[in-house]
Symmetry: C2
Subunit: 300 residues, 2 copies
C-alpha cells in the first residue's frame, strides 16, 4: 500500500508534467497562436510546485470506482487550472494585493497587471476546453456534467461569489455564520467540485455522489479552518507566503472568532464528519480518508 505522502507527490508530479506539456503555444492554439508572453504568464501561475490537492481529490474520488489515475488526470488539470487562475486574480492589487505566492513573485509582479488578468482569464477558459475534450472522458454526457459541475463550483454561486463575499467582509464584522458561508463558497466550492467530478468520472450513483458531497463539504471546511489556524500559528518561512496577514488586515476568521483552542476542536469534529461520510466505501476510500487527515494535520 502506497503512503499518502507518496500518493500526493506522485499526483503532483503527474500534474506538473501534464501542465508542462499542455501549456505551450502549439497545444493552446485556437483560431490563432497564443502570444508567448501570455503563455509564459499562464505557466508562471500554474507550474510552480503547489500541492495539487484538487487533482488529488479528483483522482481519489474517481479511484473509488476503479478509475485509473491517468483517466482522471485531465479533469484534475481542469480543476487545477481554475484554482491557479483564482490565485492569480486574487493576488492582484485591486484584490488581496499579494507580492508573494509559493515563495515566488505573483503573476502581476513577475509580469504586469494586464498580463496577469489575461493569464487568469486564459486559464479559466482552458479549464473548460480540457473538460470538453475526448481525452477527459469518452462519453460526452459525462464531459458535459463535468463542465456543469466545475462551472457551478467556480462561478458566482461558488468560488467567485465567495471571493466577492470575502472582500465585502473586510468592511466590518460579519459573524460566524457569514464567515462559514463565505468560506464554503470561496474555498469549499472548488474542493466540492473536485470530489464530485471524480465521482462523476467513475459513474457514481446518486447515493454515492451524495455521500461524497458530504465528505467534500466537511473536508473543505477542515482545509479552510486549518489554513486559518496556520495563518495564526505558522511562520512565513514554513508557508512560503506571508502569515499573520488576516489579523494584520483586521480580517475576521473563524479562528479569530472562536479562539485557537475551540477552532482546533472544531477542526477535529469536522474531520470526523468527513471520515464518517466515507464509511459506505470501505477500503476503497483510503485515499480520501488520508487526504482529510492531511487537511486537519498539515503544517503548511
Amino acid at each position: 500500500m502506497i503512503s499518502f505522502t507518496d500518493e500526493m507527490a506522485g499526483c503532483a508530479a503527474d500534474v506538473e508534467r501534464a501542465l508542462d506539456a499542455l501549456l505551450n503555444s502549439e497545444r493552446l492554439a485556437g483560431p490563432g497562436v497564443p502570444p508567448e508572453r501570455l503563455v509564459a504568464a499562464m505557466r508562471h501561475g500554474t507550474i510552480a510546485g503547489g500541492k495539487r490537492l484538487r487533482p488529488l481529490l479528483v483522482r481519489q474520488a474517481a479511484g473509488i470506482f476503479g478509475v485509473r489515475p491517468e483517466r482522471s488526470l485531465v479533469a484534475g488539470l481542469a480543476v487545477e487550472a481554475v484554482h491557479c487562475y483564482s490565485l492569480i486574480h486574487d493576488d492582484l492589487p485591486a484584490m488581496d494585493d499579494d507580492d508573494l505566492r509559493r515563495g515566488q513573485p505573483t503573476a502581476h509582479k513577475a509580469f504586469d497587471e494586464a498580463t496577469a488578468i489575461l493569464a487568469g482569464d486564459g486559464l479559466l477558459t482552458l479549464a473548460f476546453a480540457l473538460l470538453a475534450d475526448e481525452d477527459c472522458h469518452p462519453d460526452a454526457a459525462v464531459r458535459v456534467r463535468l463542465v456543469a459541475e466545475l462551472a457551478a463550483g467556480a462561478g458566482a454561486g461558488g468560488m467567485v461569489g465567495g471571493q466577492m463575499r470575502d472582500i465585502e467582509a473586510e468592511a466590518g464584522p460579519v459573524g460566524l455564520r457569514a464567515i462559514t458561508e463565505l468560506q464554503a463558497m470561496k474555498t469549499g466550492a472548488l474542493i466540492r467540485a473536485a470530489v464530485r467530478m471524480g465521482a462523476l468520472l467513475g459513474g457514481a450513483s446518486g447515493e454515492a455522489l451524495a455521500h461524497l458531497t458530504q465528505y467534500a463539504e466537511a473536508a473543505g471546511r477542515a482545509f479552510q479552518l486549518a489554513d486559518d489556524l496556520l495563518d495564526v500559528t505558522a511562520s512565513p518561512q514554513a508557508m512560503g507566503k506571508a502569515t499573520g496577514k488576516d489579523a494584520a488586515n483586521g480580517k475576521q476568521t473563524l479562528v479569530g472568532l472562536l479562539g485557537v483552542e475551540a477552532a482546533r476542536r472544531q477542526l477535529g469534529e469536522i474531520t470526523h464528519n468527513a471520515l464518517s461520510a466515507l464509511l459506505p466505501f470501505g477500503d476503497e476510500a483510503g485515499g480520501l480518508r488520508a487526504t482529510a487527515m492531511y487537511f486537519a494535520n498539515r503544517e503548511r
Copy 2:
C-alpha cells in the same frame, strides 16, 4: 420577410429579456448564494443595451438549418456573456482604462476594480454553465462541442490571446500582418465561434461548417475594419464612447496603415468574400448576408 433592423431588434430584445431573467441570485446559485453586489455588477456589464450581434449570428447560422430562434437563444447568451466579460476586463485601468462604455460608466467605475474583475470571471464561468445545460441543446454531444468551440474562440489562442497581442502592439509598430492577426484573434475569434456554434446547433455537415467558418472570418474582419474606420470618422455622440482614441494613443490600426480610402476598399472586398461564402446556402442565408452588409455599412 422581416427587415434586418427588425430582426436585430427582435434578437436584442430576446437576449435582454433572457439575461434579465437569468442574472439573479436564485438562478445563478451554486453551492452557495451569489452576493448581491456581484450579481449587480454582472447585470451592469450585460444588461445595458448593446446590439447583441453575436447572439444574432448564432441565431442566423442555426436558422440556416431550420433551428428556431428560441432553440439557439441559450448558446447565444453564452457567447454574449463571454463578450460582455471581455469588455469589463478590457475596460479595467490595467488594460484600456476606459471610463465609458455604451454611454454608461464602466463596471470598475460604477462599482470598483475588484468587483469588476470578479463580475467578468463570473460571466465567463456562467457562459460554460449555460452551454452545459440541457436548455441549450438536448444532445450532450452537441453541447460539449459548443463548449469546445467557445473555449477555443475565447481562450489564449483566440480572444484573450488577441487582447494580449493588442497590448503588446502598443509598445511599437508591428505591421499590417501582425495587426490583421491580432484582430482575427481579439474580435474575429468570438464572431467565428458564434457562427460555428449556430452551425453546430443545426447539425451542419463538415462542408457547411467550413463555408460558414469562411463567412465568419471575413465578417469578423469586416466588423473590425469598420470599427477602426468609425474610430477615425465618427463622433463620440454617435458611438456612445470615446472616438479618435486609437490615434490619440498612438495605436496602430489597419486604417492608420492603409489610409481611409484603401481601408474602405478593403472593407468592400472582405464583405464580398463573406457574401460569397454564403452562396451554397441560397435564400436560407439571408440573415447572415444582411448582417455582413450591416457590418460593412454601420454608422455606429
